[in-house]
Symmetry: C2
Subunit: 306 residues, 2 copies
């Protein structure tokens, strides 16, 4: 017995056989459900899903997209569709859904399972999903935007180990190559910050797992840390974050075209602490949003008139 | 080179040698720092730290503790000390700090590293830390409260595997036995819900990792699932959540006396979906809070007068 949802251009590819037997599906952490909400009416026209760690940032992105798409309500506040739960926040801007996922693989996995079921129940087709996040850069300037060509684990391997019951299943972390190229092409129209394609390393821990010397615990030397980060750089890693392998694996298995676009808040070869001002960090965080807005406008055939 | 902070009764046990060389420590995800905030003045008198996944729940707990401790400001709103960041929320009620940690090991680990450094910088002594969370029960009635005697991984082993650079370090997940017993004794004064001591299983995933049949992906049968959960029950597991092993390992290494007290929202031997009403779930979530309030009042020598 094996199954998953699929969102290939031709629609749903496969089903989880158990779900067909359920009278109702409660998407607990989103505070939505098939009996309490008309999911096709609420979400059937969604074509782009953007996810990121911080709820405030994903609200700001929805507001930004409303302005970018010239939608009514631009400038107004946007309503949190998951207001009944404080686990995640979800906002709409026309065909764009903007959702927070918290920090780390377990947190993004819960959201993705429920989001993928939501898109299935809503009968969405041809959905593109993009993670717009923050990261630590590796040998690149702070503020650079990295489009991930391959998500790798802490040993620089393009794989995600999923525990299923008490077994470990290894999954591919391949992302959509054409989508990454399309995003890189879009970035050429935004010359005021550097954008590049590279591998993204995904870790389970921000401190010891990313070789930081400034956690509550540290059992390695500065030399060991730099040796590890240099080996990561030589393996093609250009930034480090905490969600990309699980995101790539789950979206890939369910047939969603997926991309990861993260800004680097610092260069980890230069230090561990994030020392830039709130204003500078806020501007950095807008860079992936500006790139994705340009991409969505292009896909929708919108020409800038302002 | 090896080091960690310690909060044994005699004070700090060890130091991370790198931290002594830092002129400033920015606790990025808490939006606090040693140069921007007077941490000893803000936190030096903290004796109890309570952590839980949901920011709303931890705000409600701080408000509840203010009432329970008869503090000025009871009934009023409490200010989020980490308001400049939306990664975590932090509230005070007298000597009690209430902090949210999001979902999953990576998310709680980031918070704990920064919290432990905060307690160190603030020169706190004799701190007790308790995770008050929600969980899936195993062979116990929904609404039961489980005090963890041992946090185990998905193979029922009392260990936490921490990736350090590209190496794996195995850590103990022992919790404070006396504290667990003291909490069980307190529970006897609250007869209106069942409280028990048992093992808590900690997983990296809510769906496939906990044997749920209702995720976007499912590759196992109902029989396989029940076989796994029954084996967990036989190994002494009474509830399942997603943070306890990392919490026990990190607090243990840093000399913090730690406990885990979670309410079971359902019995996983009976089903996967959380179907209880918002009102019932809200009352369930108050149960660990009521137990911890009784414990803190007892520790502080407060006698109920209402």
């Amino acid at each position: 017995m094996q199954g998953c949802f699929g969102f290939a251009p031709t629609g749903v590819r496969e089903q989880n056989p158990h779900l067909d037997l359920m009278e109702e599906d409660i998407l607990y952490h989103l505070d939505l459900g098939t009996k309490t909400h008309n999911l096709p009416a609420m979400f059937g026209d969604i074509k782009f899903v953007c996810v990121g760690g911080s709820p405030n940032r994903m609200r700001a992105f929805a507001q930004f997209m409303r302005r970018e798409l010239g939608l009514a309500g631009a400038g107004e506040d946007v309503a949190d569709i998951c207001a009944g739960s404080d686990r995640y926040a979800m906002y709409r801007a026309g065909p764009v859904l903007s959702i927070s996922h918290g920090m780390g693989i377990p947190s993004i996995s819960i959201m993705l399972h429920e989001l993928i079921k939501l898109l299935h129940h809503a009968k969405c087709r041809d959905v593109t999903i993009i993670r717009i996040g923050t990261s630590g850069g590796l040998g690149i300037e702070a503020g650079s935007v990295v489009i991930t060509d391959m998500a790798v684990d802490s040993s620089f391997r393009p794989r995600f180990e999923q525990v299923v019951l008490d077994d470990v299943v290894v999954r591919s972390t391949e992302l959509d190559k054409d989508l990454a190229e399309e995003l890189l092409t879009c970035s050429r129209d935004i010359p005021d910050f550097p954008t590049l394609i590279g591998h993204t390393m995904c870790t389970y821990d921000f401190y010891e797992g990313q070789g930081r010397l400034d956690g509550a615990l540290c059992s390695f030397s500065s030399e060991k840390k730099l040796d590890y980060l240099r080996r990561a750089y030589e393996a093609g890693v250009r930034n480090i974050e905490m969600e990309s392998t699980a995101f790539a694996a789950l979206c890939g298995l369910c047939g969603l075209k997926a991309a990861v676009v993260c800004v680097a808040l610092l260069d980890r070869l230069q230090g561990d602490q994030i020392r830039a001002s709130h204003e500078v960090l806020w501007e950095y965080q807008q860079r992936p949003q500006r790139l994705i807005a340009a991409f969505i406008r292009k896909r929708l055939g919108l020409v800038r008139t302002d």
